[in-house]
């Protein structure tokens, strides 16, 4: 008994040593993401983030200290993510946390940050609630939200004659947000459109043949697609074979991102209007330099996650620099209204709702050399696709 007591005491002592050791010469950035659940999306994110960290450190770091990236896997579960956040702050002594991809995990970390008064930069999750209904002082979000991307697509089709619209989206928070935002923006621009059917396959369990039939039954002029990953591939295959896409306008939220478009190779849909990331065609020199250094470092091309990860770390470094310290309140104050120059242009973190104005690319899909690409694309600045300030205040209560 005495022995095991000694062991426990020793362990506890060691833990205390570890927890006090962090006041050293690095600034730790906590990172939480679904590395084992969705590696295809999170690994490029991490690579982008690490590239930025290496670059910042090569330039002398921030406040004279090097940045250190401490990664944790949330196992795809919000409960685990909260536990990892507690571990990162209490044991690793990180200055702030960033990361996450799934919306519900982002929301869980948002609540955690608000309760514990710790800074959280939600890099990739798209849920609108994250900065609006459930937003708080300690949470910022980098990537253009569901609302912003849906608004970009709605703007594209408002000019078209089609009146009968059908939607298909995975039956969970992200899918619901995406459909709601699209309907809202399109209805505002075109009161005459009608939504004839909504299909809600369970996430990653789509019965694609039956879903496509159900969409065909409603005879829509256009289909708004929010499915992604394996669901998207199955939907595209059945849709093509069963003639769903012929003569109709098809929209794909995020479908143009390499994460979703590339796996489909020669099966990628043609002529869809999508939001995405045509990294191969962007001519801006800063972005070209980013692509070159990414390819050199990782022997792979960047995905949307890569540039989000890269921009996230640039934002974190800029915030710490502006704050002049890693004190949470000072970093929050610094992030409100922070401007960061990134490979995708200038990004502004809005004071009003903590959403960044990072933009997205909108274009048409086309098959080239046996794989899907985006053509006729243009870059949309996120700042132009957000509701008015008064509307935002209504949606972000208690702020």
């Amino acid at each position: 008994m005495r022995k095991s007591f000694n062991v426990m005491a020793g362990l506890a002592g060691a833990a205390m040593l570890i927890s006090t050791a962090h006041a050293a010469d690095t600034i730790k950035i906590g990172d939480i993401n679904s590395y084992t659940r969705l590696p295809g999306h999170t690994v490029p994110y991490k690579n982008g983030a690490l590239l930025a960290i290496e670059k910042i450190n090569a330039g002398g770091g921030v406040l004279g200290k090097k940045l250190e990236f401490v990664s944790r896997d949330d196992n795809g579960k919000p409960g685990d993510a909260i536990k990892k956040a507690e571990e990162l702050f209490n044991r690793e002594g990180v200055a702030l946390i960033s990361g996450s991809l799934f919306s519900h995990i982002g929301l869980a970390l948002t609540a955690y940050a608000g309760q514990k008064k710790k800074l959280y930069l939600a890099a990739e999750p798209l849920s609108d609630a994250l900065v609006w209904a459930k937003g708080n002082r300690y949470t910022f979000r980098l990537r253009p939200s569901t609302y912003m991307q849906a608004a970009m697509l709605a703007e594209q089709v408002a000019k078209l004659p089609g009146k009968r619209w059908a939607t298909i989206a995975p039956n969970y928070a992200y899918g619901k947000d995406a459909v709601k935002a699209f309907k809202e923006v399109l209805k505002a621009k075109r009161p005459d459109v009608k939504f004839v059917t909504e299909q809600w396959p369970a996430l990653f369990k789509i019965d694609a043949g039956a879903e496509v039939q159900a969409l065909l039954k409603s005879k829509p002029d256009g289909v708004y697609n929010v499915t992604f990953g394996p669901d998207l591939a199955k939907f595209v295959r059945e849709g093509k074979l069963r003639g769903l896409f012929k003569g109709r306008t098809i929209l794909g939220l995020l479908t143009g991102e390499p994460e979703y478009l590339d796996p489909m190779k020669g099966e990628a849909p043609e002529g869809w209007i999508v939001t995405g990331y045509p990294w191969y065609a962007i001519t801006d020199p800063t972005h070209k330099a980013f692509v070159a250094s990414y390819q050199k470092r990782w022997k792979d091309y960047p995905r949307i996650g890569s540039i989000v990860g890269y921009n996230a770390m640039l934002s974190v470094a800029a915030a710490i620099k502006k704050a002049g310290s890693t004190d949470t309140e000072k970093m929050v104050a610094a992030m409100e209204g922070l401007d960061v120059d990134t490979p995708s242009g200038k990004v502004h973190f809005r004071k009003i709702d903590h959403q960044s104005t990072m933009g997205a690319w909108v274009g048409r899909t086309k098959l080239k050399d046996g794989k899907g690409m985006m053509v006729d694309w243009s870059f949309k600045d996120g700042a132009n696709y957000l509701p008015s300030d008064a509307e935002v205040m209504k949606r972000r209560p208690g702020k």
Binding site: M1, A208, A210
Partner: protein
């Protein structure tokens, strides 16, 4: 009209692929009585291997089917390796122990697949010769759907021929009927089991390979198909191939037409069908009642004994130590310990029905989740004080167990397990899909404890004391008449019945009692994390509980406590220190424990140091 006909054919095509997944699972279970949770992993392997073959060879129409068969054969061989290298070593372990081993296999196969084929989702090439669509009544149907419609019945026919026209098939049927008798007649059981496992794995691989032209291969396939496969097997009747085929058609068509009427309820529908079938025909559509197992080594357990002096002083010392922890530890150690307390309570409550009650529940998460959601919803909608919300949790959980238990205790063994699983999945899908009320997978956030418990240390003591009290009550109950009657019902239902015990009612009461404590554990969890998500009701939560009880030792009272503490600490430690391959390391540790300690860790320690107890 044409539209509905096409929809019908589409439903048949997906029924065929469901059948292929379920058939192997059913055959393996029928003969070996193993619930092979790794079946989905074999399916995934089949998909990856055939993807690789098809894209590197890009064969013609005949080559396509040869490649599919070759992939299935390779997967069959993987099945043989699993059976000979692992399962064969633990056939003598307590019932369902193999389940844990197969869970370890899932973790390892998943990491191996990722290491070989990478992280990107793979989209399958179209099948050569069947790459277009045909027009029927003015509607288009992919040609490959027609091939699938043929493939299902074809496989069914071949299996029937093998089972009815070969000596091996006769033996398999005999073993499904009465395994011990087949052994007694001198049939080489080891070979029979291995070959059955080959066939089951082959079919899983075939299912995975054949769906490539309709989908592809990705790393989430393994867990995504397993729940459906179980539903089909259970609805059809475990071990019945024709039943699995019927069930696949019912589910496939239900899905095809269900989405026209209830596009949002696809998940609930399937599990509701399963529950209804089990209530009307408890052994599935074409299944047979479970025959009592006469497996050697299943002698009645020795009566429970109260802790002796050594164990009691160990307990006292541990409790004292835990009381002292906050004085010298960091906040994070307390966070982990609180998690451990919650899981200890969860595992001990599961053990109450599983060990002494003899009812293995696969859906204990339902009551944990009901408690968690009861507290969270009360706080969220009514602003109920935390103390009241905490008390409400076990009440709501008990109410859930009251209803589900009433149906479940009518069944026994694997069917009981499956019905509890169905109820848990129904609860989960309602929580998940009824977003307006439960917020779906956004979860319910900002459910924090009252001010007096807001510090980590206060909540630590709160969770510790509550857990200790509950564990004491659960343990003490086993030595009251209530506990003795429960065990009597497990050890000898007939005799218990003869002396006037209403065994079913007793099981029902025990089920409710255990459910209440699980609900309390769920509530403590909610207030420690400040949020609740559908994960708390999902299958992995139930499996974690089973793992803790079985790894600790189901035939001991301390087992679930040790199992829960160890499993929680291990997962946490591994996932913090090794981001990339922690799951396969965990899987390997699980396999090692399963092989080294077939009685569970505490069971092993007890047998080692106090063999006298075994004689009792």
């Amino acid at each position: 009209m044409g539209f509905y006909f096409i929809q019908f054919l589409t439903g048949l095509a997906s029924a065929s692929s469901l059948f292929l997944i379920a058939a192997g699972l059913s055959i393996i279970f029928g003969v070996t009585r193993i619930l092979n949770f790794a079946h989905g992993s074999l399916y995934m392997l089949g998909a990856y291997i055939s993807y690789w073959l098809l894209t590197t060879l890009s064969p013609g129409p005949i080559g396509f089917w040869l490649a599919v068969l070759l992939s299935a054969t390779v997967v069959g061989l993987v099945g043989v390796i699993i059976e000979m290298g692992l399962l064969r070593r633990i056939y003598q372990s307590p019932e369902l122990f193999q389940l844990i081993a197969t869970f370890g296999v899932i973790l390892i196969i998943s990491d191996i697949t990722r290491a070989i084929w990478g992280e990107t989702d793979l989209v399958g090439p179209r099948a050569a010769g069947l790459s277009d669509a045909v027009t029927i009544f003015g509607h288009k149907l992919p040609e490959y759907d027609l091939a699938m419609i043929v493939l299902g019945p074809l496989v069914l026919g071949v299996i029937w021929l093998i089972f009815h026209r070969t000596r091996w098939g006769t033996l398999v049927r005999a073993a499904t009927e009465d395994r011990e008798m087949v052994g007694a007649l001198g049939v080489n059981q080891a070979f029979l089991f291995t070959s059955v496992f080959f066939m089951g794995a082959f079919l899983a691989g075939l299912g995975g390979a054949a769906q490539i032209p309709k989908g592809g291969a990705d790393l989430l396939m393994d867990l995504n198909v397993i729940a459906e496969a179980f539903v089909i097997v259970v609805v059809g009747g475990m071990g019945s191939i024709l039943g699995a085929f019927l069930a696949a058609i019912i589910i496939g068509e239900l899905n095809a037409f269900g989405i026209l009427v209830f596009p949002q309820m696809t998940l609930v529908l399937m599990f509701a069908v399963m529950a209804i079938v089990l209530l009307i025909r408890p052994w599935g559509l074409l299944g047979r009642p479970e025959t009592a197992s006469r497996a050697p080594g299943e002698a009645p357990e020795p009566p429970l004994q109260r802790a002796d002096k050594a164990v009691r002083s160990l307990f006292t010392a541990t409790i004292l130590l835990l009381l002292l922890v906050p004085l010298f530890s960091s906040d994070f150690i307390m966070v982990i310990l609180i998690d451990i307390f919650i899981f200890v309570l969860f595992a001990v409550s599961l053990h109450f029905i599983m060990g002494p009650g003899g009812l293995v529940s696969f859906g204990h998460a339902a009551y944990y989740g009901l408690g968690a959601y009861a507290s969270a919803l009360l706080v969220h909608y009514l602003g109920t004080p935390m103390e009241l919300a905490l008390i409400a949790a076990p009440i709501v959980a008990a109410a859930g167990a009251f209803i589900f238990g009433w149906f479940s205790v009518r069944l026994s063994g694997v069917y009981f397990a499956m019905l509890t699983l169905a109820f848990a999945q129904i609860t989960w899908s309602i929580v998940f899909q009824w977003g307006e009320f439960t917020y779906g997978d956004d979860g319910i956030l900002n459910i924090w404890p009252s001010a007096w418990l807001s510090s980590k240390m206060a909540y630590y003591y709160f969770a510790l004391i509550l857990t200790l009290a509950c564990v004491y009550v659960l343990r003490r109950t086993l030595f009251t008449p209530f506990g003795y009657i429960t065990r009597a019902g497990r050890d000898s239902p007939l005799r218990a019945d003869a002396i006037g015990i209403n065994v079913q009612r007793q099981q029902w009461l025990a089920f409710i009692f255990a459910g209440a404590f699980a609900g309390l554990a769920g509530s403590i969890y909610v207030f420690s994390k400040g949020s609740v998500f559908p994960d708390q009701v999902a299958i992995p939560q139930s499996i974690d509980g089973l793992m803790m009880v079985l790894l600790g030792g189901v035939k001991t009272l301390t087992g679930p406590i040790v199992g829960a503490a160890m499993f929680t600490a291990l997962t946490d430690w591994l996932s913090s220190n090794e981001v990339w391959f922690w799951r396969s390391i965990l899987g390997a540790i699980i396999l090692a424990l399963v092989i080294l300690f077939p009685q569970g860790i505490v069971g092993f320690v007890r047998d080692k140091f106090r063999p006298s107890e075994e004689g009792g």
